[in-house]
Assembly symmetry: C2
């Protein structure tokens, strides 16, 4: 309640856009949740699109921030531990009931009007995670945790793992999701480290 009105609008709109999508969310709903009337929204945002865009921007920024690894983690953990930690940071973001849901909607069903913008933001975010992934894998090869192998197929397979866990978060949203994450990750890792003497 101490937040400025335009922040409260953004917060409630975020929740509604996540739950009901762009067209499913009416400005009347938003205003009601904030405790004001619909026309008053226009004092803070130019229109519905303006409000929506500002929320998408925040979503992608938050994702990048939440999945990044600290340099301490990068130095002290083994390759497998690092990769598992990284995987879980991404998975944890999707576990967020609001952010995860909005992320799913946005990435899988971009509104026609914002398609280009969303695509750009997504590719930027993906490039960011790919960088982290590369640094983990390169360090792993140097330390002998994983054998020498072409990175491209490996990264395809990893993204497939990540995307699979993304879907399963929503398909099987249950207490044993963590078990599924572990199983799928262990299977991925088994193939990754093949050839290394233990």
């Amino acid at each position: 309640m101490t937040l400025p009105t335009h922040e409260r609008i953004k917060l409630h709109a975020l929740k509604l856009f996540a739950q009901k999508g762009y067209f499913g969310t009416s400005l009347n709903d938003v205003a009601t949740m904030v405790g004001i009337k619909k026309p008053s929204l226009y004092a803070h945002y130019k229109n519905k699109d303006d409000l929506y865009q500002s929320i998408l921007k925040e979503l992608m920024d938050l994702f990048s921030k939440r999945v990044s690894l600290s340099s301490i983690q990068l130095e002290q953990l083994s390759t497998k531990e690092l990769l598992y930690l990284f995987t879980n940071k991404i998975v944890d973001f999707w576990k967020d009931d609001t952010l995860g849901l909005l992320y799913k909607r946005t990435v899988l069903f971009p509104e026609e009007k914002f398609r280009t913008t969303i695509q750009e933001q997504f590719l930027q975010t993906e490039a960011y995670t790919t960088d982290i992934l590369y640094s983990i894998l390169e360090k792993g090869q140097q330390q002998g945790d994983i054998p020498k192998q072409p990175f491209e197929p490996l990264i395809h397979a990893y993204y497939c793992l990540i995307d699979g866990l993304f879907v399963q978060r929503f398909l099987y949203s249950s207490s044993d999701y963590d078990v599924k994450v572990k199983h799928a990750f262990e299977h991925f890792w088994k193939a990754t480290e093949i050839g290394v003497e233990k």
Copy 2:
């Protein structure tokens, strides 16, 4: 044009529901595409929900039909070939621009009103594919193509592969999707057959 009207309605509605979703599709749109006026639809379907439900039913039935393996295939192919064929049958269904799109919408964003129905139909379809999967894996173990191992983690990992490919179909809808499928599948298979002497 030779099709009965209620079939033509269903066909155009399927396309529209896939592209624009339940709320994004108006009965006016449907009627216009069929070449009649909106109120005439009610001579063939009770209402919008009735039309939508009958389409969902058809979608799930088609999926089951398309992914099933023939007994000839089951007998003559190796375990790896069988699993790859099965994977590609599923992937091919998603490649269908209309059916794949509607499947994605329905499974990932079930309309609140039909949530229970959709959930049931999905679980039924999943049980069907799990049966096929089991029969492939069991035969593979008997023939020594894959080592003895608990099936549960393996099936989790496989579904994660499948769900990952499901997302990637829509994220990277491009000419090199087939390459990504191959990479991800090979990585999965590498971990699956570990321990077998070749």
